[in-house]
Every structure is written in C-alpha cells, then in structure tokens.
Amino acid sequence: MITIENLNFGYSEKRLLSISHMEIKEKQHLMILGKSGSGKTTLLHILGGLLKPVQGKVLIDDTDLYSLSGTEMDKYRGQNIGLVFQKAHLISALTVKDNLLLAQYFSGIPQDTGRIKEVLNTLNLGEKLNSKVRQLSQGEQQRVTIARALLNKPRVLLADEPTASLDDDNANSVIQLLKEQAENHNASLIIATHDQRVKDAFDLQLNLNEQ
C-alpha cells in the first residue's frame, strides 16, 4: 500500500538517510523509532507529502506522491493523509465544529456535519461540537486532532510523537485509540516516536537509530 523506493533524505546538512525499499501493506502499522534528531519527523513529513525528499519515490497505492503538482499534492494530502502532531494544533479562533469543517473544506470534499458528529461521537467528543477550542482540556484537544485526521477517511494516518506530552496511562490509551480508529477506517497507521513506553505496540518497526 505504501511503497518507498530509493529514498534519500537529509534532515540536516551533515546526515543523509537512505531507505532503498520498504513496503507497508494494507492494515499494517509501522512504528518509526529514533532519538530526537534522528530524522523521524523528516521521514514522516516525506511520507505525508509535506516535504520533498532529495531523491526517491513514495507511492501510496499507485500514486507517486512527488510527481503531483503543488495543488494536486495539497488536495491529495487533504483527502488521503491524516496527520496528528505532538501538540494539538487546532485553530483556536474557531469552534471544534469549524475546525473539522475546515478539514473538509480545504480537502475539497463536501462539508458534512453528520460525518463530523459521527467522528466526534466515536471519540467521546459529541458534546464538544460547538465548544471553542480554548475551552477544551489538553487531552480533549488531542482527541479533536485525531478526529480531524480521521474525518476524511484517509488511507494513511501519520502521528508524530503523539504521546510525548502524556502520562503513562494516557500514552497507552492514545496509541490504542489511534490503532483502533485506524483499523475502523481501514487506514495504515504510522507513528514516529522516541517514547520507549509505546515502542512495542506494533510489530513492524523502523529504527532510525541503527542507520
């Protein structure tokens, strides 16, 4: 489903990482492990269509990501790739509902409040539909970003250090939640982390420390 070929990427001027071939099959999840500064965020951004690699190809299904034009890529990203970050980056000027509507608007799919309610309900956020982002707790905000990432039923769900600022209990439950939601939506989940507590959650691992 996701295929990486001859990928070369530099996350700093000194180091260049390369992956000659890697494949993630449907319903498979990948854990990218590495210390901070090992290039895992860079790799994740490349997989998410946010950053063009120095060399090589990233294929999602049959789409060669970096052969798309800028605008095509933006559209593709909005519709097929869900992103979750360490901090809950929500638009604080807007309500929860507007944040999610924005994800539908920018990706060019029809705006559908029914779908938004559905996703929020599965994450136990149903009552927060019209709350301002600022009124939510940290954990709630994190779950809203997961809801936003899943909203457009992406093929790939990418999470960058989703557990870094959470305590042990919450760290594990967020991983479980991501896994569960990814499976519900038939999406491949890729998590980049240096968090030792969650490294064993998936079988498929890529350890950048060893490169």
Partner: protein, 416 residues
C-alpha cells in the same frame, strides 16, 4: 466553511484590535466624505444659481460680496445704484437681457426681492399654486418660505427692514401672498418675490411718512414692469443690482471694463468670483483632505502591523491549513480577505458617519438649507471612496498574505 467565513472568524476573535482598525479607517473615510458631500453640493448649487447670469452690476464694493448678495442671497448688498444709470446700461447693444433686483427687506429671515417675472424664468421656476405677482405689494413665495413659515395664498405679512429677522418691521404696508412656487433647488426656493415698486413703496413710508398717507389702503396699483424690463421711477429711484446676459462673448470683454471705469457702478462676473471663492476655500479643503488621507494611511499601517504580528502567532495555523489540503493561493486569499473585510467595514462606517455628520451639521446651521446642502444624498465620487477602502485593505494585507503564501509546512511543523 469557506475562506471568507474563515477570515471573518479570525477578525471576530480579536474584537478590540478590529474595533481600533475599523474606527481609524471609518474616521478617515468619514472626513473625506464630508468634504466630498459639502464640496460637490456647494459647487452644484453655486453653478445652478449662476447659470444664465453673465454679469452682475451693482454698487461699488467687493465684487465677491456683490455676487454673494445678488446671485446667492447670502451676503449683504454693496449698496444701491441709480435706476437711470441702470436703464442707460440696458440700452447697450451687448446686453441681451437685464433683470433688476431690489433687496433690503426680509420677512422672518427670508429675503424680499423686488424684480420681474424674468427672474423666475431665469431659474426655470414654475408655480405650484396661485399666480405670479402683478400689483404692488403682491408677492409670490418660494417653496421653503411657504413650508417653513406656513404661508398660504391670501396671507398677509409685514416685511422687516434689513436682511436678518431681528430688524424693525415696516408695519405700514403689508404684503399679500398671491402664489407659491414649485421647488426648483435654486435661490428661488428661499425668496419672497415682488415688484420693485413694492419695495420703494414700503420704504417711501418710512422716508416720507406724512405725504404718502393718502395712498394708504387704496386699490392696488399695477406694477410698471412686472413681466420684464426696468420699472419707471423718479430721478432718485434706486435699485440694488442688475443681472445681465450678453448677446455675444464680446460683451464679457468690453462691458466689465466699461462699467467699472466709466460709471459709478461695479460689474462682477459670477463665474470668475465663484471660482475665486473656491480657490480660497480650496486651501482649507485640501489641508483637511490631506489630514484625512493621513488617517487612512495610519489605518492601513495599523492593519498591516496587526496582520503581520498576528501571522507570527498564526504560522502553525497556516501550516496546519496547508497540511489539511489548503493550497498556497488559498492562504494568500485568506489573509487578503482579512484586510479587505476590516477596511470595507471601516468604509461602511465612514459612509454612515460622513453622511450622518453632514446631516447633523446642516441641522445646526440654518443657512445650510438656503445653500441647498443635505447629508441624505449620494454624490459623485463616493464609489471611489469605497474602492479606496478596498484598496487600502489589499495594500495592508499583501505582504502578510505573501508571507502566508510562502509558509513552509514541514519546517514550521517540525519546530514544535
């Protein structure tokens, strides 16, 4: 959700900042609009009242005063001229037509003007009811006079000496209203028109009280020149001025010099004098206008600074929007919209403030109606003011929008 709504929600999220920017913009636009409204209405009304009048002949004094008193009925007359001298002038072959005016009295602040029917024709006035005056002490009144004083046909009143309503009444002879004019948006609206002999008659009473006593309360005397031309009068008879139309452009070259050097009278050109008046006023108008533009520039700068600073805090928002599928150009438009929305609201506020202010000021200053100024009209150029406000919005937001356009998603998101 769409870009416009998104920009609007960002604006709403910062009410104080928005309020300040909108207010600045609104004030600038309001000042410009006030000037625009006053200037264009003044110009329009001054032009309307001077049309068909090539030259005003009156007593020596300030030419501007002569024009203001006899064409616009604002200032006081310069004095009187001899009827005989005026008559001699009308025989000049350059003169196509001459309308005599006799000023000096008022009723409740409205000027009583002795003249003939040509004066009504000059301004294309028409009767709303009744007739034009024929007999002495009959009068036809302008629409504002009728409305504000509640005068009807058949009503009688005593004129007062002088041109402001505090002066003494001529309580010997009363005027009788015989007609009311339609609104013409000209000087006619605020005047009480009668025969020149009526004015003489009223003043003769004060001058030679005993002698004229016999004439009192007799049947009305038909005016000697109520339709056109100059009235018949004795050797001492005087009028205030004459409005002259030339037969050809040559008149404008020859006549003023001839009158000013060879007679005891003065000739002044309404076109020239009003232009002079405007160039005098223009200095002040231009200064206030520059002041308004400075305010608008400050408003633009203030919007620029708040957008620019806000974008520093919002670079994550912008990167997230990109990651959600927003193209670069959408972010550009999103920021531009923010600028335009603020300045357009400012423009609309300025529009309301500007018109409201003019309307408020005209309410305070009673002469303004006589000059024909109102806040409740649209004037030429207001459309451009709206364009200016949108333009300021675009200018203020173009650099921040360009920064938004260049957001490097990966770099910003990696910086957490």
């Amino acid at each position: 959700m769409n870009l416009f709504l998104l920009s609007w929600k960002y604006i709403k999220d910062k009410p104080l900042n928005t309020f300040l920017n909108v207010l600045l913009m609104g004030l600038g636009i309001a000042i410009i609009l006030v000037l625009l409204i006053l200037n264009s209405q003044l110009e329009e009304n001054l032009a309307k009242n001077k049309r068909g009048v090539d030259l005003v002949v009156g007593a020596k004094g300030s030419p501007l005063q002569l024009i203001l008193a006899n064409v616009y009925h604002i200032d006081f007359p310069t004095g009187n001229i001899k009827l005989d001298e005026a008559k001699a002038l009308t025989r000049n072959r350059q003169v196509k037509s001459a309308i005599p005016l006799a000023l000096g009295d008022n009723y409740q602040g409205f000027r009583i003007v002795g003249t003939n029917h040509d004066y009504v024709k000059l301004y294309e006035g028409s009767l709303a009811s009744g007739d034009l005056w024929k007999y002495n002490l009959e009068c036809t009144i302008g629409t504002n006079v009728a409305m504000q004083l509640g005068l009807k046909i058949g009503d009688e009143f005593f004129g007062a000496h002088g041109l402001s309503d505090t002066d003494l009444d001529h309580d010997e002879a009363s005027y009788k209203v015989v007609g009311i004019l339609e609104p013409s948006n000209s000087a006619l609206d605020n005047l009480i028109l009668t025969n020149i002999e009526s004015i003489w008659q009223v003043h003769a009473h004060t001058a030679e009280e005993g002698e004229e006593e016999a004439d009192h309360d007799h049947e009305p005397v038909l005016g000697s020149a109520y339709e056109t031309g100059l009235p018949e009068g004795g050797p001492d008879a005087e009028i205030t001025s004459m409005l002259i139309q030339f037969r050809s452009a040559m008149g404008a070259v020859v006549m003023p010099r001839m009158i000013n050097s060879d007679t005891n009278m003065q000739a002044a050109s309404p076109a020239f004098e009003t232009q002079r008046l405007f160039s005098l006023m223009g200095i002040g108008v231009n200064m206030i206008k520059s002041f308004a533009y400075i305010i608008i520039v400050i408003a633009g700068l203030s919007i620029f600074i708040s957008l620019y600073n806000a974008l520093k805090d919002r670079k994550y928002d912008l990167a997230i929007m990109r990651s959600l599928g927003a193209s670069k150009s959408k972010l550009f438009v999103h920021v531009i919209f923010e600028g335009i929305i603020i300045t357009t609201i400012g423009g609309v506020l300025g529009f309301v403030l500007g018109h409201g202010l003019v309307e408020f000021l005209t309410g305070l200053y009673e002469k303004s109606e006589a000059i024909g100024i109102s806040g409740m009209v649209l004037v030429k150029g207001e459309f451009y003011v709206l364009l200016i406000s949108i333009g300021v919005g675009v200018l203020a937001s173009i650099l921040p929008a360009f920064n938004a356009y260049r957001t490097e998603i990966s770099k910003v998101l990696a910086q957490e």
